[in-house]
Symmetry: C2
Subunit: 218 residues, 2 copies
């Protein structure tokens, strides 16, 4: 079957491409993100457009409709709530929650989801610091800057750590770069985006990968 699961994944991926901007993406980028052939994407997008989830000008970009965005937010809420749940109630680590959540977001009923949200105290951030959309689709955007764009001397607390890279997540975890850990930028390298920072008072040299994965409270 899976009719629904596939649609949900497409929509969520389109949304995730540029979470803070108009949700549009080119077919090739979408194909790359989903690990599919471009031709598969073209076909599926045709169906998504037919059901009113996206708009698509031929040879142009794919953009979520309001309906598509609503579905995407529903899936993002599910994913992040489940990740939080796995960490809080099942002892999963940051780096271990993604795959399980990827499956469960399509399988849990709304009733379970509600119960889980209640058990967790209606959280609004997931273990990576990403906002968990409310059930009505409302999202509170974090007031944050990308760490690699922060200026020398900038100080604040980590508010978001990108998932999807288990190795990096473990490295960050080992070096005490955790959600809400205070960070101060002490040196800014001219090229490549690498930074030296203070994390919890200790100097640390962040590669550009790590810097790109961290958002700093403004």
């Amino acid at each position: 079957m899976n009719g629904s699961t596939t649609v949900e994944d497409y929509v969520k991926t389109i949304y995730g491409h540029t979470e803070w901007q108009p949700e549009s993406i080119t077919p090739s980028a979408l194909a790359a993100r989903m690990g599919l052939a471009a031709s598969s994407v073209t076909e599926m997008v045709k169906k998504l457009a037919a059901s009113g989830l996206v708009t698509h000008v031929p040879y142009g970009a794919i953009t979520l409709t309001d309906q598509g965005r609503a579905l995407a937010l529903r899936m993002v809420r599910r994913h992040r709530l489940i990740e939080t749940w796995l960490v809080e109630s099942f002892g999963y680590g940051w780096d271990e929650v993604h795959d399980e959540a990827e499956v469960l977001e399509h399988a849990l009923s709304d009733r379970m989801l509600d119960a889980i949200s209640r058990q967790l105290g209606q959280p609004t951030r997931d273990p990576h610091g990403d906002p968990i959309p409310a059930a009505d689709g409302t999202v509170r955007l974090p007031d944050a800057v990308l760490l690699s764009q922060a200026s020398d001397g900038h100080r604040g607390a980590v508010v978001r750590i990108s998932d999807r890279n288990p190795e990096l997540l473990r490295w960050l975890d080992e070096h005490a770069v955790r959600l809400d850990a205070p960070i101060e930028v002490i040196e800014r390298r001219p090229f490549g985006g690498a930074l030296a920072v203070l994390v919890d008072g200790h100097p640390l040299d962040l590669g550009s990968d790590a810097a790109a994965a961290i958002w700093l409270a403004a």
Copy 2:
């Protein structure tokens, strides 16, 4: 896609047909249980046989192999553990757990399942009193008789209440027929299997449906 989910459902259904006897079933009975056309079953059974999960003599019965039984037991364990979990941790009623479990049994990882089992204290019976197979496939059969076969004067405690009939489950629940509630058979009707019994000391007239759904500790 679902390659695996479908196989799991077939095997579980074959097993469930005659849980306490050799696990074999005719194609038509299997089709009826699964709500599928007979032709679909024929085709799928061919594939199950090819992967060594069942044996099948053409035009004859379908029988689980050891490998098939192992997979079936794995799925039964998952189903019953999940049902127990939904009742214990999420406030579901007896009659509400089946559909959710039907989905989740294919979606939860072994890791989650283990954690759930641990959180529940490694239960060996589900909310209906059915045995939960151990992770290694071991099943402890309840030492019980079918209530409708119990003789007049027979007394014991309810040990099993069949699921899959929400209306009946609610009726039983309302009349205090719960797992482990003591029952005494006070009158046995000659035809139809209906019984009058004492439940928790109160006389109650059980229709034949209810009687067929209840097992009594011997």
